[in-house]
Structures are given as structure tokens and as C-alpha cells.
Subunit: 322 residues, 2 copies
């Protein structure tokens, strides 16, 4: 898969500076030492296809397409969030400026779809795959728009939060499983069941990621510990804590989030301890487990993931993180 | 076409703030007084389809798709260029911030393709149309990347300039004619001839636009007179002037463009007069006419645009501008 991704990216060349920046982003050529992403989404896609008896070579192009689509969203998110580092490498906008950052993200978006259109996907599956990818992209933008709006809100309900992550994270997880099933030749109904399964796993993943964003050590997350809290991100534990009845610990969190500025290290530590005492970490772990149980129920009812390929893959990831 | 565009946009709703911003951008709902764009690209597409005996209703979805794709590029270009006004309305990023601006542009990009995928285009034409749109999008990013890079260059050759506008402007003009021909059921070869025709017209259009950017009055362009010169944009007249032999007028232009900062009104006036004296405006007019002649030759050789529908439409636009 790594080799196929590299070949796909290398196929596109030209006098425009976008190609050098795209290779920079993926850590190719002279930049070859960059740490790679986890490739979670394409792995999810390939495992779904294999679980359903599909051929690896028929699932490779959509796997690369979803990884490139994910990277387009990362390049734009890094600008939107002001992040200057990813995987230990200076982000595109921080290296080349915001205009190039926006434009290179746009180019990656089109490259994602062109991977399907220029690839070896059987013609009768192309339209269905593109539809899944485009709808996932729109849902991702819906979720991202809501997340940006959250920054200016004084409070966010659990319902709003769950809807936001369903778009921002769930859409691509869902599309990964959906595309894997299409690549394996599943019926549309069966493929849609995989889409629902992927969305449930996406929710579990995001809640776990939120816990890491608050409590994770830098060597696991690659980010400063408590980075999400410092930026007053509306994550699961915080949204949950602010929905508990009034009390001293709830007030600590509320007061920190009502402030208009970044939290310093001491504030972050105070919020984290309050979240722990109030039971927000335990609540997040429970919500994570509920999302996994929901995924199990979806799989059982639809009779999918019978070999447990997807379940084991994601459980393994969760264990590694824990 | 306007009504179909409005219906297409209105079809997409949800709790995400992106939809209100998209309606704001198009001047719908409470923002209904915004001046609309010229709708040049969808008109080009529809006229191509009609010229080839296609049905209007089969060309409407691709026409809307190309207009939305154009608007995605405008929303991102406005951030990249720092433009705060378009058609007399505050641009998305200036109104809602850069993060929302990037994200709303992304959403428009996906809406463009979804217009084809959710619309009434006959299934056998969907893949071909999406391929044209995605390749045009990538070429547009190539051209835009080159244009951004130009800002940091001390000189730009005519060859570099023509390649840049072929992507930045030519790609969507080309796609408009290409899609119109596909919508009318032309053979792939005939449709590709229309694509070449559209690219030639795109070059003519961009050179004319460059002349307006230097000499156009505000009431024609909607921008301050000489805006492109003030920002030291590499336009046709400037690139042409700097390729002439050394001389006093060439030096005035070169000195102004070598400066690292925005030009003030007096400098702009000085550069404009030097460009006039050196013959750059006349050269641009000639290059514009040559591009039109090239378009004529393409049409004649391929036996397309026999009714002159496209030619008359674009000539009319050029006359109005003159």
C-alpha cells in the first residue's frame, strides 16, 4: 500500500510548484525522513475488502484515494487550527505560506478522486465509489464547519458534539468501510451496513482520541500533553463534564473554558484533575466501549465482519493506545 | 439557469454553519441583494450544448456544476489574494474568518461534483463529466500554484505566463465547452475539439482581463483602477514589457516590480503610462486577437461551432468590455 501510494503521487508531475510541495507533505524525495501517518483509513478499507473476499489489487486504488482525501483534510485543518507541526515535520502552510497551503490541499482533493478515475477500478464501480467519497467529503466539511463554530460558543451539548464528530471523523471511517465493501463486490445494502459499522468505529476512535488529547503523553500523541485542553477544544470529556450538575469541579472546567484565551500549563493541569475527579475520563471510556458495542450490534444484525477482521484491527489500535 | 442554481444550492441544508455561509456567498436568503457573477462558464457550457443540438435540461446540471466549481476557486482565491470584496460584498473569509473560508470553499468543491452525481445526467455520461471536472480542477490548482510562486519571482517569462493562465483560467473555460459537448452527446473526439476551443477562448479572456486589470475603470471591473499593477501581479502587459529591449520605459516597469511592496497610486499611473508608451497595451490587444484567431482555426479544422454560437457569445463579451 505504501508503495502504491508513492507510485500514485509520483505519477503526477509538472512545472507547477504544487508537485514538489505534495511530495514534501508525504515525505518523499529529499524529504524522505518524515514520519508517516498511521494509514488507519486505507488499512480499514483494505481489511474490509479482504474480510469480504475481495482482491487486494482491486481495493488498492480506493485505499489510496481515501488516504489522499484524508491528507487534503489534514493540510487544510492545519491552516484552520494554526498547527505548525505534524509528524515532526513543518506543515505545508507553515513551510510555504497559507496561499500555497490552501492550494496544495485543493490539489490533493482532486488527486484523491483522480486516483479512482485514472486507476484500475472496474467501470461499473467508479460512480458508486466517487459518490461515497464526495458525500464523505461534504460531511467532513459539515463537521469541520461545526467544529470551527464551536470555538466561539460558550457551551456545546453532547448532541451537538456527537453530530460534529460523526461528520468530522465518522464520515471518512464510514467511507473507508463502505468503499472496501464495494471493492469486494458486496451488494449495495451490505456495503451500506459496512458504512454504518465504520461510522460507529469512527465515533469510538474520536472519543479515544479526545481522551488522548487531554491525558495522553507526548510520546504517544506526538503533541504537547493536554494540547486540546490548552486550546479549549470541545472534546468528549469537557462536553460531558459541563453537562453534570453544578459543583466545584464542574466550575473549574467551566471557568477555564469561558476564558477567551489559551490555557497555560497550570490551568490545563487543574482542568485535567477536575475532569478526573468528576468522572469525565471514566465516562469517555464508557462511551468508547458503548460505541464498540454498537459496532458489534451492527455487525451482528447485518451479518458482516463475521471474521472479526475490522473489529480485531481497531481493538488492537485501542489496546496499543491504552 | 439561475433558478436551477438556486434550487441546487437550496437542496443542501443541515445544522452545519456551512450552508448559511454558502447561501451568503451566492447572495440568497436575507443576503439577496448581492450582485451576481457573470455566469460566463455555465453560459459557455449551455451554448456549446445548444450549438451541438443538445437539450437544455440535459446540460443544466453540468452548467451548475461548473459554476459551483468556479465559485469554490473564487472563495479560496479571495483568501490567497487577501481580497475582502467581491461583487460589492464582503468575501467569505473577511466576513467569517479564514478557517470558515477554507472550509466553505471545500464544501462548494464537493457540491460541484455532487450536482452531477445527484442530478439527472444520464449514467453513461457521469464518469466522463467527472473526469473532465476533476482534471480541470487539478490544472486550475497547478496554475494557481504557479501564480502564487510568481509573487516571489523577480521576472516571469511569456512562456511561464501563458502556461500559468492555461491552467488558472483556461482549464475551466476548456471544461465548460468540453462538458457542453458531452451533454449534447458528441463523440469523445469532437468533445475534445471543443475542449481545445474553450482553452483558446480562455486565453483570450484572460489577456483581455489583464488589460482591464491595468487600464479598466472601476465601474467596468468593480475593482480599483490599476489594482493588478498596485499588487505587482504578473499580467500579460507587464510580462511582455519586461521582455522588450532595455530602455527608459522598460526600466520604469522593472523598477516598480522589483520593489518588494505594494505600489501607490502615483507609481501605478507611472507604470501604466510606461506600458502604454512601450506598446504593451497594443501587444496585449494583438495577443487577444491572435487567441481568437486560433480559436477560429480550431473550430474550422474540427468543423465545430459551425453556427458561431460560442464565437458570437464571447465576441459580444469582448465588445461590451471594450
Amino acid at each position: 500500500m505504501e508503495a502504491h501510494l508513492a507510485r500514485t503521487i509520483e505519477r503526477y508531475r509538472g512545472s507547477s510548484p504544487i508537485y514538489e510541495m505534495i511530495r514534501y507533505h508525504f515525505g518523499y524525495d529529499q524529504y524522505g525522513h518524515a514520519k508517516q501517518g498511521k494509514r488507519l483509513r486505507p488499512q480499514l478499507l483494505l481489511r474490509t475488502a479482504l474480510e469480504e473476499g475481495g482482491k487486494l489489487e482491486e481495493a488498492l486504488d480506493p485505499a489510496i484515494a481515501i488516504e489522499i482525501l484524508h491528507n487534503y483534510s489534514l493540510v487544510h485543518d492545519d491552516i484552520e487550527d494554526g498547527d505548525r507541526l505534524r509528524h515532526g515535520q513543518t506543515t505545508i502552510w507553515a513551510q510555504f505560506g497559507i496561499p500555497h497551503g490552501i492550494n496544495v490541499g485543493d490539489a490533493l482533493c482532486s488527486l484523491s478522486y483522480l486516483t479512482i478515475l485514472h486507476g484500475t477500478v472496474p467501470p461499473e464501480r467508479v460512480v458508486g465509489m466517487l459518490l461515497v467519497l464526495h458525500e464523505a467529503n461534504l460531511q467532513m466539511c459539515e463537521g469541520q464547519g461545526t467544529d470551527i463554530k464551536f470555538e466561539s460558543l460558550a457551551s456545546v451539548t453532547m448532541e451537538q458534539y456527537l453530530e460534529m464528530i460523526s461528520g468530522k471523523t465518522g464520515a471518512l471511517f464510514s467511507a473507508s468501510c463502505h468503499l472496501g465493501a464495494i471493492a469486494a463486490g458486496c451488494t449495495p445494502e451490505r456495503a451500506r451496513a459496512y458504512a454504518r459499522l465504520g461510522r460507529a468505529y469512527g465515533r469510538a476512535f474520536q472519543i479515544r482520541d479526545d481522551v488522548l488529547g487531554a491525558w495522553g503523553a507526548t510520546d504517544v500523541t506526538g503533541k504537547p500533553s493536554g494540547a486540546d485542553l490548552a486550546r479549549r477544544k470541545w472534546s468528549f470529556p469537557v462536553v460531558w463534564a459541563l453537562e453534570t450538575p453544578a459543583g466545584a469541579d464542574r466550575e473549574i472546567v467551566a471557568a477555564a473554558y469561558e476564558r477567551g484565551s489559551r490555557l497555560d500549563e497550570r490551568d490545563v493541569e487543574g482542568v485535567r484533575e477536575a475532569l478526573d475527579r468528576i468522572g469525565a475520563r471514566a465516562a469517555a471510556d464508557e462511551a468508547h466501549d458503548r460505541a464498540l458495542a454498537e459496532a458489534d450490534a451492527i455487525a451482528r444484525e447485518a451479518g458482516i465482519d463475521r471474521g472479526g477482521t475490522i473489529r480485531d484491527f481497531l481493538a488492537q489500535g485501542a489496546r496499543r493506545v491504552a
